[in-house]
């Protein structure tokens, strides 16, 4: 590629005369890469610093402005064997990083406090049964209070904020009983310290906080990890476009640098990178990634085209419009809005439990106080016992039960090349009983491929494929994929709109339209058997071959769909493509319920009808036209090749050419959901034993500490089972899928 990419939009100029560029790097696999990249770049004159983050595969380069061009840096990396892509960190990710750091600080404070208070508390416990003097005990209690009060005020913030947020909206969540328990226990302990009593609960409070923060932190870390990989992937597939500058020259720029009002040039065979209206030129565009429709649409001046469409045979000049200005996009956005509001009504399992749990616990505490007062105990004693009930039922295990499973399960999904977008998706995935697929790009591969390669003589196929390397036509790219020898033939000439030809050893070779190769009859016969495919003819001297090209099914689609059906899922297809194109796919997969020619609104209507029947629908789709349906479905999945807007709506995104992740995702989600329910069960059984003990006043701080840490440990250990029992099978499934880059 002779053109160099203009990266100036990604370069940050700093006050001290240096420039800074962040890059996402592909191909890092070992520790030696660090030295190779950093050393190699630092040898470039003018480069001040290069620092590779091995954890998330990002490189920060700084150089003295004007001495090196960013393109030179990327070129040098290419020479070293790494592909680099300019990377713009997204606001969400920076926000998450700040939150993670804050949680870590809270965790550190809680850890410090719980260790030191436990030191004092154990001394008091052992002193109480031996010979501690009341003065020493008071001293220890005051010290514990001194540590606990500021620590809780600092480390408890995540819970206070979340509980306040819930209460302000008139809801309760798991954090409300936690905060009530923490505050009551602290108050009571301070009062007891003033009264120089034997028992305080400072140790229980900070230990509880420490455990809960551990859960929050690992939950956050897991989500941050998947988000980092996802945004690396986003920058890897970031596209470029040819911008027509003021002076009429062409510049190759990343799409991020293109603004509304710019003019861009799209050549035949290129993917349109940005929405716009056609200023001049005429062509056909393949909008299968946008609408699912596989027949091409003819466009000329004034027509609207969408990002993601493939330009076929003519050169187009586009006027870039601001995003969201097309008729299709308008409809999609409008539908999205209504669908998204419907979805936010889903209540997470943990919050559902919390809703029932909090009132029961608080009633139990109130009953305890009343019962003790009624039986003649002092008001002070009764209140102490009631608060002990609240402390012991403070839902530590309950609050850990769900997030720990979520963390372990999203780790398992990560290994299966699936990235979760939303935390509660696991619960919704587990309830699924109907799977609705989009066709184009979901059941089929997003790129074209030769479907009858097996019926063609190997030497003919190889020659055709090598010749195809010289063509820019999108259909030729599918043929070129078959080439084992990646060197194009010398002297190949492309005849626009017809094909390519060359002369090898005195014999002419032609690849292109059947008329161009004199194989019209053969092509007609071939297409008759497979009307949805396009025919490319190949002529080599007297020999002729016809290659059928279309979007093939994902390699394991048939097996996965059969497997899903056998497991009792109702599989359906809703496609934006013509019914004639959907029928053979549905037949091949054995799916009886299918519909073609669906507009976004149709898809939503169909999903609503399924919902009305009481079904929980998993929607799997990739096109822009699927975005509203993905938002409207109970839960949704997208392949990584999906349009950006669509990916943002999906609850999870999967990588690779295979459909297996869909089945695996459901399996992992079901296992995780089972474990979540088990964990909640364990937490409730624990309370069943703990509450009566507390009711009768047997809960000393020692018992509380043991009970709370015991139940949290059991819940956490149980959650580890979500990793899955068949690692061998998982490893096998991972083969063939692309390696996950960076973490």
């Amino acid at each position: 590629m002779a053109e160099t990419l203009d990266l100036s939009v990604f370069v940050k100029r700093q006050d001290d005369g240096t420039a800074h560029l962040d890059l996402a790097i592909e191909g890092i696999d070992c520790a030696a890469c660090i030295d190779e990249i950093e050393g190699g770049l630092c040898r470039l004159p003018g480069v001040v610093d290069a620092r590779l983050n091995y954890t998330n595969h990002r490189l920060a380069v700084e150089w003295r402005d004007g001495q090196v061009s960013p393109a030179k840096v990327i070129e040098e990396l290419q020479r070293l064997g790494y592909r680099a892509h300019p990377f713009q960190s997204r606001l969400v990710e920076e926000e998450e990083a700040r939150r993670a750091q804050w949680l870590l600080k809270c965790l550190a404070v809680a850890g410090f406090a719980s260790m030191n208070i436990m030191l004092l508390a154990v001394s008091v416990w052992s002193g109480n049964v031996t010979d501690i003097t009341p003065e020493t005990r008071d001293f220890f209690h005051w010290l514990a209070a001194l540590i606990a009060l500021p620590s809780v005020a600092y480390a408890g913030q995540p819970f206070f904020q979340s509980a306040m947020g819930a209460l302000r909206n008139g809801r309760t969540n798991m954090d409300v009983p936690i905060v009530i328990g923490i505050l009551l226990a602290l108050t009571m302990s301070v009062v007891e310290t003033i009264n120089s009593a034997e028992h305080t609960y400072f140790d229980s409070v900070v230990m509880l906080l420490f455990f809960l923060l551990c859960g929050r932190f690992i939950d956050q870390a897991m989500r941050r990890k998947t988000r980092a990989v996802a945004s690396n992937l986003a920058s890897l597939k970031a596209e470029v476009a040819h911008r027509i500058e003021e002076n009429g020259e062409l510049a190759l720029v990343p799409t991020a640098a293109i603004k509304a009002g710019d003019r861009i040039l799209v050549r035949p065979g290129e993917r349109i990178a940005i929405d716009g209206t056609v200023l001049s030129g005429a062509s056909e565009v393949d909008e299968s990634l946008v609408t699912g429709e596989t027949t091409h649409r003819a466009v000329d001046a004034g027509a609207q085209v969408y990002a993601g469409s493939l330009n076929y045979n003519g050169t187009l000049t586009l006027n870039v419009t601001a995003a969201g200005k097309g008729t299709l996009l308008d409809e999609v956005e409008r539908l999205l809005e209504s669908a998204a509001t419907a979805k936010s009504r889903y209540v997470q399992l943990a919050d559902r439990v919390a809703r029932g749990y909090a009132p029961v616990v608080h009633t139990a505490a109130a009953l305890t106080a009343i019962a003790w007062i009624a039986s003649g105990a002092s008001v002070h004693g009764a209140i102490i016992t009631a608060i002990a009930v609240l402390i012991i039922t403070c839902p530590c295990a309950l609050a850990l039960a769900v997030p720990v499973v979520q963390v372990v399960a999203s780790g398992a999904l990560f290994r299966a090349n699936v990235f979760l977008n939303s935390g509660d998706a696991l619960e919704r995935l587990a309830e699924v009983d109907t799977v609705v697929f989009d066709k184009t790009g979901t059941l089929t591969l997003p790129t074209m491929s030769v479907v009858n390669a097996g019926e063609i003589a190997p030497d003919l196929l190889e020659a055709a494929a090598r010749l195809a390397l010289s063509s820019h036509h999108p259909l030729a790219a599918a043929v070129a994929d078959k080439a084992r020898d990646r060197r194009p033939y010398d002297g190949a000439v492309e005849e626009p709109g017809q094909g390519v030809r060359t002369i090898m050893d005195g014999i002419e070779m032609r690849l292109g339209s059947p008329a161009f190769c004199g194989a019209e009859e053969m092509a007609r016969d071939a297409v008759k058997g497979d009307p949805t495919s396009s025919a490319i003819a190949f002529a080599w001297g007297e020999r002729r071959a016809v290659l059928l090209v279309r979007q093939a099914l994902r390699p394991d689609a048939v097996a996965v769909v059969r497997n899903l059906r056998e497991s009792g899922f109702d599989c359906r297809i809703l496609s934006g493509d013509r019914a004639e194109a959907v029928a053979p796919i549905a037949q091949a997969l054995g799916i009886e319920m299918w519909r073609g020619g669906c507009k976004p609104a149709h898809k939503i209507a169909m999903l609503d009808a399924l919902k009305a029947e009481g079904r929980k629908v998993l929607m799997v789709g990739d096109g822009l036209n699927d975005a509203p349906a993905l938002a409207a479905a109970h839960v949704s999945l997208s392949p990584i090749s999906a349009a950006d807007l669509t990916q943002a709506q999906a609850d999870a995104v999967f990588l690779g050419d295979r459909l297996e992740p869909v089945r695996e995702t459901i399996a992992i989600a079901r296992r995780a959901h089972r474990l979540m329910r088990q964990n909640l069960g364990i937490a409730l059984v624990y309370n069943l034993f703990a509450v009566p003990l507390a009711f009768f006043g047997y809960v000393t701080p020692l018992v509380a500490a043991l009970a709370m840490s015991g139940s949290s440990t059991i819940v956490t250990l149980n959650a580890l089972r979500a990793r899955g029992r068949a690692p061998a099978k998982e490893a096998e499934a991972a083969q063939g899928a692309p390696a996950v880059q960076g973490a």
């Binding site: 520790a31 260790m115 001293f139």
Partner: protein, 49 residues
């Protein structure tokens, strides 16, 4: 047992020092690249000329 009056505060101060050191290390970005730190220890060119 009067010794506790200053021993316990000393123990606490030590703990606080540890906490402060940890806070500094977070702020200093020592946890930004955990995997990188683990492998960088093996490379011996830390004295860059």
């Amino acid at each position: 047992m009067e010794v506790l009056i200053y021993l316990v505060p000393i123990a606490l101060m030590l703990g606080l020092t540890g906490l402060a050191a940890f806070m500094w290390s977070i702020k200093n970005g020592q946890y930004d690249d955990v995997q990188g730190a683990a492998v960088r220890v093996l490379s011996d060119d830390d004295l860059r000329k």
